[in-house]
């Protein structure tokens, strides 16, 4: 009789969510093919796929962004709202152009990006390691499970003031706390991903005579990749959100700090400019993640 595979009993919401996103993010929608596999390469195949889907969704998304921009321009011009609420894009644009030429701006960018990279790297390594540990040592995993799962719900950010007092007012409390926040989804997803590897793959590893390392690195990890990658994506998101949120609350520098600082100085244009920069950073990260997932997972998806 097969043993029970030990995995967290809860499917983290994000795993389901990320799978749905991943499924949607390829963008292509094709009709299911009933006959045996047709040629998979060539212009004809690509053309057929695109004809089925209609205009590429990326175009529609860009269209929405453009529409929002036009709305912003029109609204400001027609004075639908005061410039205190949302300055006209021209003003914000020129403020941004000026900021980009200052050292302070790039210092803030550098600090925030450094924090994000540090947190992300730490979360990847620690999260993956812990995930593997909990998978290989089910008792340990089960014991920690309620805490891991509930920590999704717990706003770690409330520990920030205490951390600042202990460590000091610099990037370190941010890095430490954001790493905790980002490590949890990475751990859970690694664990679930590995535990969820189809039984047939374990049997295959055995009949092919795979050694321990071969089984883990050449079968288990690639098989678990979709779910593990969802964890990677969440780790990156939490890295950004954690870092900037904490900077916003209380920090000597960084993009989040700058937003607050400009607000307190009543520099609306500069504040909105910084907000846009953060949005652009988030967009950049989202594109990177999507590209990475597409590259690693794209070939696995049925067309």
């Amino acid at each position: 009789m097969p043993d029970d595979v030990i995995a967290p009993r809860l499917q983290p919401a994000e795993v389901v969510e990320a799978e749905a996103e991943a499924a949607a993010s390829t963008g292509e929608q094709t009709l299911p093919r009933k006959e045996d596999a047709p040629p998979t390469h060539g212009r004809a195949a690509r053309g057929a796929r695109r004809r089925d889907a209609g205009p590429p969704p990326a175009l529609a998304t860009a269209g929405i962004l453009v529409a929002l921009l036009l709305l912003w321009i029109a609204g400001s011009a027609l004075e639908l709202w005061s410039s205190n609420v949302l300055p006209p894009p021209a003003d914000v644009g020129s403020a941004l152009v000026e900021l980009v030429q200052t050292g302070t701006f790039w210092q803030a960018v550098r600090i925030t990006v450094t924090e994000i990279v540090a947190v992300f790297a730490a979360a990847l390594v620690i999260g993956f390691g812990l995930g593997m540990l909990f998978w290989k040592a089910p008792y340990l995993g089960r014991v920690c499970e309620p805490y891991l799962v509930s920590f999704y719900a717990v706003p770690f950010i409330v520990f920030y003031p205490t951390m600042v007092v202990i460590i000091g007012l610099n990037s370190w409390p941010i890095i430490v706390l954001a790493t905790v926040m980002a490590t949890i989804p990475m751990t859970l997803n690694t664990w679930i991903g590995l535990a969820g590897v189809s039984h047939v793959f374990w049997k295959l590893a055995a009949v092919l005579g795979c050694g321990r390392r071969q089984t883990i690195f050449r079968i288990a990890i690639p098989a678990a990749a979709p779910i593990v990658l969802a964890g990677v994506r969440l780790a990156l998101i939490y890295s950004l959100i954690g870092s900037v949120s904490m900077e916003f609350l209380l920090a000597p520098n960084g993009l989040g700090y700058q937003i607050r600082y400009q607000y307190e100085l009543f520099h609306q244009n500069e504040m909105v400019a910084y907000v846009l920069v953060v949005f652009m950073l988030a967009g950049l990260l989202a594109i990177t993640i999507a590209a990475m997932e597409g590259w690693v997972l794209g070939r696995r998806r049925s067309s």
Binding site: R9, E17, A24, S25, V143, W202, S243, S245, F279
Partner: protein, 249 residues
């Protein structure tokens, strides 16, 4: 390798409890190392004395109200928009990247943009909570509706059900698991949103209390508030998780 739990089942909750005790022990140890971390008994004292303080209770109630409001609105909006998007693949394909990108933005930075419109006070903080809470629900429900087995929709058509009936009798029950999970996430995110907003503009509420405690070095009060907040989030999450587990699926 399928790995079995080779110990008696009772040892698992015991182990978890043991981990909790270990955590408390570490906390107590650390409190001895620095004055910033109050000891466990001092914190518990502070919790009880705070709960006896009418001003504190006022702040607690204020935060609570905002969180519940934000959660209720966020969940409702999330479900409505999620179902709408789930039904329309074209719109979804266009809008989804934006939603995903929005999900990865630290939403607190939008707060200064809200303030000139809504002024400091309940409304702006609740809206901040809503903005935090709505996205996970939206993403989950959209995904669930979009991936609902087409046989469900066919069933609705075959039975001659009206649009409303399909919605209430087929679609919503089919995605109730996502709704529950979205609610669970929504509560904690609404809490974060409201607390962060309260940190930023100090009027009343738990966020303000914490900020003040930090500024005046009242570390017992700070830790007590943190604890209460964590307890609240943990309990709500746990309760909804149990509901989720009971769903027959």
């Amino acid at each position: 390798m399928t790995l079995a739990l080779r110990v008696r089942p009772i040892l698992v909750p015991l182990g978890s409890f043991g981990l909790l005790l270990l955590g408390l022990a570490v906390w107590q140890l650390c409190s001895g190392l620095t004055f910033v971390i109050p000891s466990v008994p001092d914190t518990i004292d502070a919790v009880f004395s705070s709960l006896g303080d009418p001003d504190y209770l006022h702040d607690l109630r204020a935060t609570f109200t905002r969180v519940l409001l934000a959660c209720a609105i966020g969940v409702t909006v999330g479900v409505i928009l999620g179902v709408a998007l789930g039904y329309s693949p074209r719109v979804r394909a266009a809008v989804e990247p934006l939603i995903v990108a929005m999900n990865s933005v630290p939403k607190i930075i939008l707060y200064p943009l809200l303030l000139p419109i809504f002024k400091v006070g309940m409304t702006s903080q609740v809206i901040m909570g809503v903005i935090h809470a709505v996205f996970p629900m939206l993403i989950m429900v959209t995904g669930a509706v979009a991936h609902m087995p087409t046989t469900y929709r066919k069933l609705g058509r075959a039975l001659g059900a009206s649009q409303l009936q399909v919605l209430t009798r087929i679609t919503l029950p089919a995605v109730r698991r996502s709704i529950l999970t979205g609610t669970r996430l929504g509560v904690s995110l609404a809490t974060i949103g409201v607390i962060l907003a309260e940190f930023f503009t100090t009027e009343d509420g738990l966020g303000r209390v914490m900020k003040q405690a930090y500024q005046f070095a009242q570390y017992e009060r700070l830790m007590a508030s943190v604890l209460l907040l964590l307890l609240f989030c943990f309990l709500v999450s746990f309760a909804v998780w149990n509901l989720e587990r009971r769903l027959p699926e």
